[in-house]
């Protein structure tokens, strides 16, 4: 291929092992200026590992990297950055206590004499964020920002460094459609200015839109590299999974009449006003809305993670406010959208993570370790979690497998009602299907599920009824055939009727 000649960064026969386990088996790869090269594959296929090797974060166990045709070795990521190689990680890499501006300029602060030039940095930070259409104050602290806004800051940080090679590991996993569009536009601009871009995502439509070339990895092996033109989403999915995929969404379960959750006039100060809705047994209820609409805040208010006023009744009984434990005991659990900071203890092993929420099921005085072990075996099997080693830390699982572990942890509490915030964030298409089936099966067994998602197809495909939120209140409700992307977006932006029903 001619690309090899003009490649700015290329890799030959990359092998990577973690301990005794080999996760990359001789992968070739190259990046060409002015091209977007997409890397796709299932969860745990080795995409992040490959990207980290290219970005200088990890050293290959065997194999060679070439920069501008010359063999290179990066001793650390700083060295790679000095060569113009930049990476946006799948998991956030921001200092939570620092401000947006401080994060964007971390390690390359602008100086005026011996002092920091705050004004210049703030102005530049603001300009970068405006390019991304993200209106956060550069002086606000990262910990106060929503997940998507954090991602935009991360992207702004990379944009500000004028990278020759930009490596993006699932940058859109936490973004909504609108933000994704903005990001893809920025990628287009970077491509035109000659940046080589490596991109991965589990949203195959994005790959279709943005990629010039596509490489497929499966179980750490290079399956194919080809031009993106003419590579359909179905063909990508088949290449990734290694088999044909049937319908993505299962049939929608029919809810029963019994109301299991009743929320009345719930307000979360500053975030949500007067939200009321009900959930029935066996129902899958979707929550859609733009980022910042207050969906996560509403759910956190319901389960007692945030101070809230209003009434919540589970199975007819009022729920003690402000207690996650009381909610769990009543049969109501919430699965967070922020698995790294709120969902999993990344440094702890799989078992400790799995049983944390339902630990009292494993003994009130002495923890029954063999029961825990059995639970892990079951979880690995039921949720198809790909683990290399049962004693590994949760943080060493690939992103998608972390999500499955989180799901397993939540389900171990045997809830009647599950609120899942972004159920398939960072999950491959085959696994997505598994999770959709799982949600539908839950509902069919008489459990009730609330799915909060920024992926409209997901809400539309799963839920029989969709509540749309906009700017902190419930903007409307759609059900049956009235559910469509158009209708949801109209409600979310504040146009259209209050309640539409088919």
């Amino acid at each position: 291929m001619g690309a090899a000649v003009t490649a700015i960064l290329s890799a030959q026969q990359i092998i990577r092992r973690f301990g005794p386990i080999q996760v990359l088996h001789g992968v070739d790869f190259d990046l060409v200026p002015g091209q977007v090269h997409a890397l796709i594959g299932e969860n745990g296929a080795g995409k992040s590992t490959m990207m980290k090797i290219l970005g200088g974060y990890l050293a290959p166990s065997e194999g060679q990297l070439f920069l501008d045709g010359q063999p290179v070795q990066f001793s650390d990521q700083k060295q790679a950055e000095a060569q113009g190689l930049l990476m946006i990680h799948q998991e956030f890499n921001l200092a939570l206590q620092l401000t947006v501006e401080e994060n964007i300029f971390l390690g390359r602060e602008r100086m005026r004499g011996p002092f920091l030039d705050h004004k210049a940095m703030q102005d530049e930070a603001r300009a970068l964020l405006v390019r991304l259409n993200c209106h956060v104050d550069p002086r606000s602290r990262i910990r106060d920002l929503s997940v998507p806004n954090r991602q935009m800051v991360e992207i702004a940080r990379a944009l500000g460094r004028n990278a020759r090679v930009l490596i993006m590991d699932e940058p859109t996993a936490v973004l909504t459609n609108r933000e994704t569009d903005i990001l893809l536009e920025q990628i287009d601009r970077l491509r035109e200015s000659g940046t080589a871009i490596l991109y991965t995502s589990h949203k195959l439509d994005e790959i279709r839109r943005i990629a010039d070339r596509v490489t497929v990895l499966r179980d750490g092996r290079h399956i194919l590299t080809r031009d993106a033109a003419g590579f359909t989403e179905d063909a990508m999915a088949t290449a990734m999974v290694g088999r044909e995929l049937s319908d993505l969404f299962p049939a929608k379960p029919v809810p029963q009449d019994e109301v299991v959750l009743k929320v009345e006039n719930l307000s979360v100060p500053g975030r949500v006003r007067d939200a009321s809705f009900t959930l029935r047994r066996g129902e899958v209820l979707g929550f859609a809305g733009l980022v910042g609409a207050g969906r996560t805040e509403l759910m956190e208010g319901i389960v007692g993670l945030r101070p809230a006023s209003g009434k919540v009744a589970v199975l007819g009984k009022p729920l003690k406010p402000g207690s996650v434990l009381a909610a769990r005991e009543a049969g109501l659990v919430y699965l967070t959208e922020d698995r790294k900071d709120k969902g999993l203890l990344l440094g702890k092993n799989l078992t400790e993570n799995l049983t944390l929420l339902a630990l009292d099921r494993f003994g009130t005085v002495r923890i029954d370790k063999s029961a825990e072990d059995a639970a892990l075996t079951t979880a690995i099997h039921d949720f198809d979690i790909r683990v290399n080693d049962r004693a590994m830390a949760a943080g060493s699982l690939s992103g998608g497998n972390q999500q499955k572990l989180l799901l397993a942890k939540t389900m171990l509490a045997e809830p009647e009602i599950v609120i899942i915030d972004e159920p398939t964030r960072g999950i491959d298409i085959g696994t997505k299907q598994q999770i959709y089936d799982f949600i539908a099966a839950l509902a069919a067994r008489g459990k009730s599920v609330i799915v909060v998602s920024s992926e409209l197809p997901e809400v539309i495909g799963l839920a029989a009824r969709v509540i749309v939120m906009g700017r902190g209140h419930i903007a409307g409700e759609l059900s049956g055939t009235a559910i469509s992307e158009d209708a949801i977006l109209r409600l979310a932006m504040g146009v259209g009727a209050e309640r539409e029903t088919a």
Binding site: K342, G343, L345, L346, K348, E352, L356
Partner: protein, 332 residues
């Protein structure tokens, strides 16, 4: 992954420096001590070292929980002095009614435990309910208790009534089958502590809280209660340590228990508990306490290095322990 892999026995972990380090250091010290002085392994010296380790040891077990849960307690040394002072005053005051005998000793023990509990509750309340940094709260209470006991003793020494002291002495000096009581109590506390840390929900919750408070909160862990629990547990163990300590000298003063907090924290860290929280092991703390006491003991027995350098050597050991831990981690 397939069932076969899932049900296979978990692979043996390589024994790394992280686990082995403190134990190796302890063994090395014992060998060194034995080669320097023939009496080192004698009954008298061993009992002496262990009994003196017991006070710090009992406190350090509690400290392990506090640190594992992401906290710190600087007040334990002054707290011990304060509890000892209160205990002695209460016992002296109760002699007219109870007389000198078992009831007096039991009453004194109850006072000590309650005083420790109250002090721990206060620390825990300010830290978990009011939300002030643990470092600040316990720095404050460290000063408060120290000054209170000095004030109670009017700048001098609070002494237990002579007859009562004679009656209470066996609690430190006697024992069961030749093992003195402080050693027995320390051993029981250590074993219970280890079991609590590794096998109970409380221990698991401490580690979860120290590793990531948000995750713990989202996982329905009663974060405030667990955090409070660690300080209360520590307070009560300080009370227990005081019960063992008072019969030794029969008095308390403004200088009782000085620097105990640092020794306890050092023992915890040497033992492999992570100072930032998230991971703790009680047996390591026990090893840490023994290492610190042995250094002291060896310096006193063998006259190669001046005993005045004790603090310096302990300091080096603490720093070395942390360095070794880090190596152990990055080698993974």
């Amino acid at each position: 992954m397939s069932d076969t892999t899932a049900s296979a026995a978990p692979p043996r972990r390589r024994l790394n420096l992280h686990v082995l380090g403190p134990v190796l250091a302890l063994v090395a010290l014992i060998v060194l001590g034995a080669s320097l002085n023939a009496n080192f392994l004698g009954y008298g010296n061993v009992t002496n070292v262990l009994a003196r380790s017991a006070f710090i040891g009992i406190i350090a077990v509690g400290m392990t929980f506090v640190i594992t849960a992401g906290g710190i307690d600087l007040s334990v040394g002054s707290m011990a002095a304060f509890v000892a002072g209160v205990m002695i005053m209460a016992m002296n005051a109760m002699i007219p009614t109870l007389g000198v005998g078992v009831p007096l000793i039991l009453a004194g023990m109850c006072v000590a435990l309650l005083a420790g509990l109250a002090a721990g509750l206060l620390n825990g309340f300010l830290i978990s309910k009011v939300g002030i940094e643990a470092f600040i709260v316990t720095l404050g209470s460290m000063g408060i208790y120290r000054s209170l006991v000095t004030w109670l003793a009017d700048g001098g020494t609070l002494s237990l009534d002579f007859a009562a002291r004679g009656f209470y002495r066996p609690v430190y000096y006697d024992g069961l089958l030749g093992v003195s009581w402080p050693i027995i109590v320390f051993a029981i506390v250590a074993v219970l502590g280890e079991l609590t840390m590794r096998h109970t929900p409380f221990g698991r919750h401490c580690a979860a809280l120290g590793a990531n408070e948000q995750v713990a909160k989202y996982s329905a862990v009663k974060v405030d209660r667990v955090r409070m629990g660690t300080y209360v547990l520590l307070g009560m163990l300080v009370g227990l340590a005081t019960i063992m300590y008072v019969p030794r000298l029969g008095s308390a003063s403004g200088s009782t228990g000085t620097l105990w907090e640092l020794e306890a924290i050092a023992a915890v860290i040497i033992g492999g508990t992570v100072l930032k929280g998230g991971f703790g092991r009680v047996w390591g703390t026990v090893v840490g306490v023994l290492i610190l006491s042995l250094i002291d003991n060896i310096l006193n027995l063998a006259s190669i290095v001046s005993p005045y350098l004790n603090g310096a050597i302990q300091g080096v050991i603490v720093i070395l322990a942390v360095v070794l831990q880090r190596e152990g981690k990055s080698a993974d």
